[in-house]
Structures are given as structure tokens and as C-alpha cells.
Amino acid sequence: MSIVLDQVTKRYQGSPVVNDVSLDVGEGEFLVLLGPSGSGKSTLLRAIAGLTEVDHGTISLHGRDVTHVSVRERQVGFVFQHYALFRHMSVADNIEFALRVRHVKASERRARRRELLRLVALEGMDDRLPTQLSGGQQQRIAVARALAHRPKVLLMDEPFGALDAKIREELRRTIREVQRELRMTTILVTHDQEEAFALADRIGVMNQGRLLECGRPDDLYMRPATRFVATFLGAANLLLGYPTPRGVRFTLPAAEAAGAGSPVEPPREVVAILRPEEVELAAGEERIEASYVGHGHVEDVLFGGAVEKLRVRMPVHGPVAASPGRDPGEDEFGSLLEVSRTIPEQREFPVAPGQRVAVGARRIHVLPTPVSSFTIVAADEAAAQRLRESALLATLASRMHTRVSVIFVPRPWSEAHERRELRRAPPGMPVIEAGPGSAAAAEWLLRHGALQLLCMPPGQSLPRRVVIQPSGEDVRDATMAVAASLLRHVPAEATLFGSQPLESPGAERAGYLQLLTDLRHAALGQSASSVRPEVVTGDVESQLLHQLDALPDTMLVLGMSAADDLGRERLARFLEGPVARPVLIVRPFDVHAVAGH
């Protein structure tokens, strides 16, 4: 391995800008770090070069731990966004700078300079001043300069950021050729996905300081694991679907969606991505060659050269309609479908705004995300509004690009009432308000098919800490998956709370700690907030509650296995205690089954 990062964390004023990033880059590999501005990618690159110190973790270059080694000794080549050429020096002096400070003989310097200028196709420019060159030429010189001392690793920070489109493409080709010719391990940072696709052997997508996913460009595009990567790499429609033995269905009968369907097995809800180019449009359902999704109306059509871009408004399905006084169309989720069509497709079936069309999906990919959507379960509109407007739910919904729907269940929560209005938990994650009666509601929802449940005080802000307590082996994976998904969208410090039996000998304790470490890497590795394990003995629950009461701004993620007591008193300890806090309860589900679709 050429570059190995192990749990690298960098904080600015307490908040992590690079958050527990682990990454291996192979010899001669071209890795592109892709992410929006502020995602920490440039900081990570600077950390590899040694221009920024890291707070935690190790950086190795070619097997040598260089975490505390000076920039000079790391022997990297670095290309800056704004070239950073020395303006008072000629091109020749710029390129020879690295050799000059190493006291290399003049004849050798000259030979190396010629070689580098040939490499970047700027022979004969030796005596120019940087200001006399175009932006593209300046960046080529910067690349040549960065290579002069024969570094083993080339790092480039948005090298095309300041250039216009045509030059950008040209320079991209040059850099790719140079990289191939020298077989040099290269990391390039960019926010431009087109650039990433054009250059990368592998792409690492970063967001909020975390390396979310890393893989081959086509793999990441076709099979992303997270909502962020799905929507950041190319356009994507996120849809809620319901897996059936014959594939994923996108509509549920209204009654079933509202939770009034058969009480046996609640429909599993999944998040599927449908790329705009995988959408098929036709006049009627029978003309659709791919799988039929539904009917919609063409909202607008935009001609963009080789492809036509249009948006199709789909009727909103699911339990949203149950909310009175709200236009179902208001809910943007899944209602506007982005479509792009090639010219032959346009010729075959021309459409105009307002036209009713049948929609088909050629290929969908189901995200292995454990949290699909939210359903507020409230007594009245005012209560629903309080939950909907809380920062926690609003942030989660907007960052997950997901739907928040509402169903009303009048209080008090009585058995007689339930049977009439609701026969099982709604799909997605039910959200209820903390307070008197919340334990009763939670008990009923969990007993009637809810796999997760969020109970929070109205107006809940974003938590600063998340305490995770998996309970029982079968729920461990599910809890970690939900917690990871939560932390991906709401950055917070995480504490993993674990117990061990009182009588356990040392060996078991070691085993437990090993398990903690494994969990941390397996489940939180990619979302990777700072995770602190905390192991206690004895009455875990009391100690957990005791600790929670002392920590403000804390959210609890609580795993409850099938064997766990779902009794109202036990739930009340967590949900109706003296200190109100958000609690996310997770029941066991098969994490891997979701990914299989």
C-alpha cells in the first residue's frame, strides 16, 4: 500500500472536520476524493501532505508512519488550487525550486526541468514569468514543479477549480497521461463528479468529515450504499418501495399504507434509487417495456442538447393524505420524478408539459439503509406540527431526502380505539411525542410491527451526543445500522454503552472489548463519528439512565431484542422519565436482507 490512513481525525475548535477516516491507496492508483465544499476533503489531503496536523489516527506512506514527520521529509508532490507559483521567479526557477533547495547541481537541474516541461507539453517556456502564462499553463507548470523532486505520491487540491471548462478537460487529459506514464500514486480532491469519473481508478465520497463510501466509479454509481452518495454522484430519484416476492412495488393501497391493512405482516419499506436515465415513459401502461411504476403528468421539459430533461409529477401515495388541511402535493418526496431521455427516445414518444404519461423503471437499486421514512403518530394537527417542526426531525428528513407523513390517533391510546383506526404500525419509522402516554403508544407500535420508533419532546433540537445501547445479540446489528445512519445525517459524539455480566472473568471482558471494537469498525466505520466505548457491570439500565440524566443534549439509541421486555413500565423508564430526551428504539431486523434487493 502506498498511502494508508488509519482513523484519521482532525478537529477545528472542537468539531471534527475530518472524522475517523481510514483509507488505503494502492501503488500507482489514482484516487479521487469527492465531496461538497466543507466536507473535509481538502483538510484530509493537507493532513496527508503534513501541512495540517491530525488530532488522532496515523498516516503511513509506503509503510512508514509519517504522522509526526515534517512536510519536507514526507516527499510528496502537492498541487494547489490557485497554482501557488512563485511569481517573482521564472518558470525554470519555479520548476527547479525543489532541486535548488536540495543543492542539486545546475546541470542536473536543467536536465530534469527539460524532462518535466516535455511531460507537461510546455517546452521552451523556461524563461517566462508565471504571470505571462494562461491559467491552464500555470497549472501545468505547478504540476511539473510538484514532480521535480521525484515524489512518491502526488496530491492535488482542486487543481482545475479556477479554470474554464475547455481548458479543464485538456488539463485533465494531461494529468491522466502524466499519472499513467509515471505510475504515480495520486490523490486528487474535487467537488466535480464529472472530473472524478473522468480521472479516478477509485472514488472516495466525503461528507461532513466522513468518508462515506469508496469504490470503483461504476460501482458507486450503480450500487451506492448511502442516500448521500446516491444523490451526490449524478442525479437520482429516491423512492419508497415495498419489496414483494416479485420485486419492489412502489404503490400501496391507501388503506394498507395507513396501517389499516392486514394485521399479520406489516410491509417492509425500502428506499430505492431510480436514475433519471433509467426512467421509461410511454403513452400507456401496456406500452411500458420495463417495470411499470405508475402514471404521472409531465411538469416541464428542458431540451439540453443530447439529452432531454423533464420532470414528471407522480401522485403521492402512502399515508400522507390522512393529514387534514394539507395538500398531498405539498409533500415533495417522490412526487417529482426527474427523467432524462436520449434523442431516439424523444423521437419515439414526444411529450409536452401537462401530458399524462405512464412511467416505467428499467433498473432500480435498493439502498441498504435501515431508515426509510418517518410517520408522525399524533393526536391532532397541533401536536403533529410540533414534531414536524422540531430541528431533529426536520434535519433528518431533509438530509435523508425522505418523506414525513402523519397519521392521527386520538388520545388516550385505548385498545378499543386502536382496533378501529389502526390495525398495525405504519411503514417507516413512527415518531411520537414524549410525555405521559408515550410509553403506551410505543408499546403498542412496537408490538404491532414497528421496527424502529422515535420518541422525542416537541421542538427537539439536534443532539450533541448519542448514546447507543445494543441489547441482545440479535438486535446488535440493527441498532448499529440505525445508529450509523443517524450519525451520518446528524453528526454527534457517540458513546457505545455495553454491559458485561457481574460474574464475568477477565477473559470474557477482553472478549467483550474485542466485540466493541469490531462493532465500531463494522457498523460505525463509515459514518464514523467519534465513538467512545463505555463498559459497566451490574444493573446496566439504571446506570445508563443515571448517566443520561447527567448529560444534556443527548439522544439515546436503544436496542430491544425479541426476548426483551416490551412492558409499559420498562418503556416508561426511558420515555417518561424526569429528563425529556429523544429516544430511538430499534427492534431486530435482518440488516443484510435489505441490501439483497
Binding site: 501532505a49 501541512l51 502537492f78 525550486f97 525543489a98 533547495v101 510538484a146
Partner: protein, 281 residues
Amino acid sequence: MARSRFRQPSILPGFGLTLGFTTFFLSVLVLLPLAALVLRAGSLSLPQFMDVLLDPRSVASYRLSFGAALLAGGVNAVFGFIVAWTLVRYDFPGRRLVDAMIDLPFALPTAVSGIALAAVFAPTGWLGQKLATTGVQVAYTWVGVVVALTLIGLPFVVRSVQPALIEVQRELEDAAETLGARPWQTFHRIILPAVLPALVTGFTMAFARGLGEYGSVVFISGNLPLKTEITPLLIVIKLEQFDYDGAAALGFIMLVTSFLMLFAINVVQGWGRRRQVAASN
């Protein structure tokens, strides 16, 4: 080329008017008084003129004036650079306050600075007392003159170097570091060349100001003939003795010498600039 140079479109209208205004101002405020000075000095016969010029008291004053101004300019070039560096590169509590304080020597009447310095550095002053125990005397020696001129010249260096330093992006230092430069190499190969023109300008202005400075020096120098008498003081003394011709002669000498020195620095600077441009063609 030659034509277009005078016909550059400009946001201020009326090239003729502005040039006329410039010439008029320069004539009335600068050239005319200087011409009068030269005329007045010219009323002396050559031997008389040489007498004034080569009078040991005069020669001693030249040495002090030019020497102290040069030394103060040099001190300012070093410390002004460091002050500018600190202000540009570091953010510390009270940075704006310090930044504003730099300009104080501009604003204070020079006599006030002089009296303040004298009070501090006099053998009875609180700093002078302590210095006296180590055998160093500042007030009433040439050192005092240098101290006064350093105070007066500091803002010139800081204010000319500051913008140039802001221009040197930190990225350039990062670049030098990744290319293997040691801190010292980064400084003298990257930072210094980039700010050198501004530093020379600042030095020149501080030096020129130091040559003509009077108010702040006379209180701390003690004005001992042949020892701590600066040329401007000598001129004032001659004026007080109604020796207008002698004063004019001394003034003329100062004028010529300062002009020659400033001109030389300008030439050197221009030569440096041209060399850079030439290297690029």
C-alpha cells in the same frame, strides 16, 4: 505606444486639466520655495559657500543626520517588517488596537514625541535610569537621535510592507514547504523577494522623513555642537542668528544630497523591476 500612453482612458475627465493642476501645485508648493532656497544660497560667493559647507560643525551634523537617518531606516526595515508580519499573519486579542497605534507617530506633533522620548530616556527618566546602570546612555547622545528617528519612521515601513505581505498567500509558503524548503529558505527565497520592493519603498520614505525630522530629535539629542547636532537644527540656529544665507546654503546642501540619495534608490528599484521584466522576455 508613445501616443497611447497619454491617451489612456481614465475615470477622471480632462487630462489637460489634471496635468495643469499637478504642475501648478508642484510649482507653487515645491519648486518655487526650493528655487528661492537655491537662489538665496547662490547669493553667497563660492568661498563663503565652501566655508559654510566645510565648517567642522556642519560636517559633524551631516554625519549625524545622514548616519542616524540611515541607521533608523535600517532598524525600521527589520523591525517594521516583523511588526507588519505579526499584524498580517497572527490574530491576537487587541490586534486592531495595535494596528491603529502604528499610525500614532504620524498624528502626534513631533515635539510631543520628542518630549515624551526625552522624559523616558533622560538619565532621570524611568527607562534612562535603568539603562544608566548598565552604562548605556540614550538621551543626549547619537543613540537618542536614532531612537527618535526610528519612532518617526516606523509607520512608513509597516504601512508599505503590510499590503505586500497580504499578497503573499500562505499557499506559497505551503508550496515551498512541500517542495522541501526549510523555513529559512522559504523566507529568503519566497517571502523576502516578494515584499522587497515594498520594503525598499518603506525604507526610503522612513529615511527621507528621518533626514528632515526636527521636532522629535531636538529634545532628546541635547544639541551638543559637533556631537549631537543634526543639520536641520544647525539651520534653525543659523536662522536665529539671522544668518539667512548660511541657512540657505546648508538647506541647499541637504536638498541636493537627499535628492541624489532618493534618486539613487529609485534607480536601483527601477533597475530591479526592469531586470524582472527583461528576464521574462
